[in-house]
């Protein structure tokens, strides 16, 4: 009898844990499917529409010379320190003191005095920098957005103040080169101080670098001058071997910069902004 009771208890316990597991699984599934099925609410007030189109990338892959970019929404400004403070307050595991090495290296939010306070040389309305790819990606996802792809970022960044595509315009290129000719400021300026571009987006150039979701697709793996494949030719003469526009030095610099990154790197000059696909728009 006792034995029976015990076995029953064990069975009940087993069932309990089983239910808990099933419940957890189910809730996960519900959660996941909800993110799949319904459009997400996004704060589109600080985003602008970038109308899709085609563009010729800097590095020509033998398979396609033109890259198609679908229409998408893009943040007008890079994400600021102020916004990122709010994010870590709501998501404590992204605080400086809590972050895992795997997700950000030692200089994560280096200039912040504490977990939620900026340091002396940190302007609240300036772009947040020293953030890893993981942190940037998480931030955008919490907003119901995502990081832009290289193609989307480059497509939007080709615009000057009045031209959709200014990549062959020497004045536009010179203006960007001017940025490299100035020292990194001790304190970054606020976002939105420069002129907006053709799409209504600010600070694509001249303030900080920005993360892209697929930055690792231009990894430099070696130097073989006879090899014209896209990711192997960023040194010396071979750096221009398969390029479509030899004069677009700023683009070369961006590709070189992306190639030097790893996802947990956090860099003084590197911030981010978010984008959103059209399907996520709330049309009410």
């Amino acid at each position: 009898m006792l034995k029976k009771l015990e076995t029953q208890k064990v069975a009940v316990n087993k069932m309990k844990t089983g239910f808990i597991y099933i419940f957890m699984l189910l809730s996960c599934f519900i959660f996941l499917s909800s993110t799949e099925a319904q459009p997400i609410r996004i704060k589109s007030n600080n985003m602008v529409l970038i109308k899709g189109g085609q563009y010729e990338p800097l590095y020509i892959d033998s398979s396609a010379t033109k890259i198609k970019v679908a229409s998408f929404y893009m943040d007008k400004y890079p994400v600021t320190n102020e916004q990122f403070i709010k994010f870590v307050e709501e998501n404590p595991r992204w605080k400086k003191s809590k972050i895992k090495k795997l997700f950000a290296d030692d200089s994560y939010l280096l200039k912040w005095r504490t977990d939620t306070e900026p340091g002396e040389k940190v302007n609240l309305t300036a772009p947040v920098t020293n953030v890893s790819w993981f942190a940037a990606k998480e931030y955008c996802e919490c907003e119901g957005k995502r990081l832009p792809t290289i193609a989307e970022w480059e497509y939007a960044a080709r615009a000057s103040t009045n031209k959709l595509d200014a990549t062959k315009d020497q004045n536009y290129l010179n203006k960007i080169i001017e940025w490299y000719s100035k020292p990194t400021p001790a304190e970054f300026k606020s976002v939105g101080q420069n002129q907006k571009n053709y799409w209504g987006v600010y600070d694509m150039h001249g303030l900080v670098w920005e993360w892209t979701s697929d930055f690792f697709t231009t990894l430099v793996t070696g130097e073989s001058r006879g090899d014209s494949s896209i990711e192997k030719n960023l040194f010396c003469g071979s750096g221009s071997f398969s390029a479509s526009n030899f004069k677009n030095y700023p683009a070369f610099m961006r590709f070189a910069f992306r190639s030097s990154l790893k996802a947990n790197y956090t860099i003084n000059n590197l911030g981010f902004r978010c984008v959103s696909s059209l399907s996520n728009e709330v049309t009410k």
């Binding site: 080169i177 030095y249 070189a256 956090t266």
Partner: protein, 481 residues
């Protein structure tokens, strides 16, 4: 089965003994002198200095720490430029290792850098010369190692795309792999590296200049310099020596575009290790070619005291773009080797039989200022403009300006400088110059005309200098003519 095992063990023993034989030197290529012994931290130097010669007679492990820093630097007075550097200066630090050394290279990219960087050392045998292994994001460090297989003087530079821009912004230096049989000891070794800068503004346009893509592509730099800036090797920064000393210059050319015709005015290179190789194939050379991304080692003995000018003998680069340095030699005069000027006299040529003063042209005898000005202008452009420049602005730190010059307030001093020359430090508009102005071979009228031109053309006091003024100064010097 047993038999098989026995056979197998004997086979193993045979294999083992063969391999030990191989390892203990039979057919082994490693000589005792190739073994790496111990380790040391390389001491790097900034131009124009070179690390002490290596006295080791064995290879060691050498650890090199080199930091990449992006910072503002002056190309010439008032002209700022954002340079990217190996070690905080242009050119990058001089690295010295010995043939056969095992080098552990640590490249640190400062966190304030805007860009990733790497290093391609021409001394490295391996893909990209280390470029691929040293590709480093801002705020990170890369480590790689190599063995210095070949002796010689090698350029190193950044090879991150777009490579031309990284080199144009100052990312180059020299690494000397000292041969096992070291070169003979000399008294002085110096490090000189030529390069160009391409700025949006023209030569001397002040303020923070940015890189001019157009000038870089057409290979028309405004600045061609030694050791990173105009005047980096003149005045109190000139390299020094004493008479009788043997000098070795490690000369590099970072480019990015131009080939240098390296020349020391008033010296002959006794030996040239052309292109930085290990054989001095040539003796008694006047000018040696230093290719972009290449080097040369030159040696010479200094016999007489004085200032010796280092130039790129593509001579407009020297006088208008900054490719000019100085070697200052102190010591006893050696009149047998070089006398200096012994005598000066009038020479008219066979077409003139009268003496100079009776043979004035209408323009010269006319006392009206414009004609006098015209004569002055032609003399100025012929004899003075090469150094003081057509616009009278001079060359910062090298040749003093004549434009708004406070030195010219004293008419007698100005006349004396023209007719007798001037050596040693002088102060013009608050800046010190320490150069040589040779005496100008002009008669009283020519000297008066050229000075009148200078006083009127370059916003000085607009006065007219007469022949009498010049004569007075000449007589007071006791060399009346």
């Amino acid at each position: 089965m047993k038999k098989f095992i026995n056979q197998f063990t004997s086979f193993l023993i045979l294999l083992f003994s063969i391999s030990t034989l191989l390892m203990t030197g039979l057919g082994c290529s490693e000589k005792k002198s190739d073994r790496i012994i111990g380790s040391e931290q390389a001491k790097l130097t900034k131009a124009p200095f070179v690390p002490e010669p290596i006295t080791r007679d064995y290879p060691t492990k050498v650890i090199i720490d080199l930091e990449v820093l992006e910072l503002e630097k002056e190309l010439t007075t008032g002209v700022k430029y954002m340079v990217w550097t190996f070690g905080g200066d242009v050119p990058g630090s001089f690295i010295r290792v010995r043939e056969g050394d095992f080098v552990e290279f640590r490249l640190h990219n400062h966190s304030s850098s805007k860009l990733p960087h790497n290093i391609d050392l021409h001394a490295v045998t391996g893909p990209g010369g280390g470029a691929e292994a040293s590709f480093t994001a801002p705020g990170h460090t890369s480590v790689f190692s190599f063995t210095a297989l070949n002796a010689g003087l090698y350029v190193y530079h950044c090879a991150t795309a777009p490579v031309g821009l990284h080199i144009a912004n100052g990312m180059y230096g020299l690494i000397y792999v000292q041969p096992k049989e070291a070169l003979p000891t000399v008294d002085k070794e110096y490090y000189i590296m030529q390069s160009e800068f391409y700025t949006v503004g023209n030569y001397g346009e002040t303020g923070l200049q940015s890189f001019s893509m157009e000038k870089a592509l057409t290979e028309t730099p405004d600045y061609v310099v030694f050791n990173g800036s105009v005047g980096s090797l003149v005045g109190d920064k000139a390299i020094q020596a004493k008479t009788g000393e043997r000098i070795r210059l490690f000369v590099g050319n970072g480019g990015p575009n131009l080939i240098s015709s390296f020349h020391v005015i008033g010296e002959i290179f006794d030996l040239v290790y052309s292109e930085g190789g290990t054989n001095a194939l040539q003796k008694n050379v006047q000018t040696t070619v230093v290719p972009a991304g290449g080097s040369s080692i030159v040696e010479f003995k200094v016999d007489v005291p004085g200032k010796f000018i280092l130039v790129d003998h593509s001579i407009f680069r020297a006088f208008n773009k900054g490719a000019l340095g100085m070697l200052e030699v102190e010591g006893e005069k050696n009149l047998k080797t070089y006398s200096g000027k012994i005598k000066e006299s009038i020479y008219l040529g066979t077409a003139f039989s009268n003496d100079l003063n009776k043979n004035k042209t209408a323009a010269e005898s006319s006392d009206s200022k414009p004609d006098f000005m015209r004569l002055g202008q032609s003399i100025y452009n012929e004899s003075c403009a090469a150094c003081h420049q057509v616009d009278g602005k001079g060359l910062p730190n090298v040749f003093p300006p004549l434009l708004n010059s406070d030195y010219l307030k004293n008419k007698e001093a100005a006349i004396s400088t023209i007719i007798s020359g001037k050596t040693g430090p002088i102060t013009v508009n608050g800046k010190t110059y320490n150069g040589v102005m040779p005496p100008q071979n002009l008669n009283n009228q020519q000297a008066a005309a050229v000075l009148t031109y200078v006083y009127n053309k370059f916003n000085n006091s607009k006065m007219k200098v007469t022949e009498k003024d010049v004569e007075k100064v000449r007589n007071s010097k006791g060399s009346g003519k």
